[in-house]
Amino acid sequence: MDISEEKTDGVMAVGLKGRLDALSAKAVEEKLLRMITAGETRMVIDLGEVGYISSIGLRVLLIAAKRLKAAKGQIAICAMQPPIKKVFEIAGFTALFKIFPTREEAVKALS
């Protein structure tokens, strides 16, 4: 799992590349929580290059969302591939997150 970051207008966009599963979840969770602890309150998680997400991956996103909410911050997900979007829908996550087709739109909405 490769993790990239890009800050624009006070919004931190985190790009994930690879599988978000039991093997990569911990590293992603630690990275996201470190960012939130360091003061990021507006985050966009770009899933454009994530081809697989399991329930453990969903848990990481849920934890980040709750942590940001507690800090009165905002989170958005963008660029989900169709199979990822399907898992989100079955999991009921589309109701929990702001979702955008592109990073640009997500960043704009949060800035």
């Binding site: 093997l23 697989y52 079955i90």
Partner: protein, 141 residues
């Protein structure tokens, strides 16, 4: 889609999930399964296998003694998956941890993973067979 069968023997180690992912891709390609079905199957198996590995052993038992077997078959427009393990009597569709001990994220996710399996697979049957747990899942393909 072609009739196809394969088996995988897994150790009690989360890194075996990598081997499962590769094995599923290969099987899917040979059996003519769509990428979407392979991904969904992988998701279901990850959930079930991690439940077995985390919660399926009796206290004090040598973790290396837990063995898991995976059988996959595609025939007559159906995918059948059987997961067999020699752990304690345990249905991996039931999360092993009591709800009240878990923080809210774990509780939600524990139920979530199993919810995904139930939504993605069409038939789910658990049985205890001698000293084995046997979980059989089926989905039309």
């Amino acid at each position: 889609m072609t009739a196809k069968k394969t088996s995988l023997a897994l150790k009690n180690d989360v890194t075996e999930l990598e081997r499962v992912a590769v094995g599923l891709e290969q099987f899917g390609s040979e059996a003519g399964l769509s990428d979407e079905i392979v991904g969904e199957l992988n998701l279901c198996l990850e959930e079930i296998l991690t439940n077995i590995m985390f919660y399926g052993l009796e206290e004090g038992r040598d973790p290396e003694s837990l063995a898991i077997e995976l059988d996959l078959e595609v025939a007559d427009a159906a995918l059948t998956v059987q997961v067999r393990d020699n752990g304690k009597p345990f249905n991996p569709l039931e999360s092993g941890e009591p709800d009240t001990d878990l923080p809210i994220e774990e509780r939600e996710i524990g139920g979530l993973g199993i919810h995904l399996v139930r939504e993605l697979m069409e038939e789910l049957v658990y049985a205890r067979d001698g000293d084995r747990n046997v979980l059989t899942m089926k989905k039309g393909v």
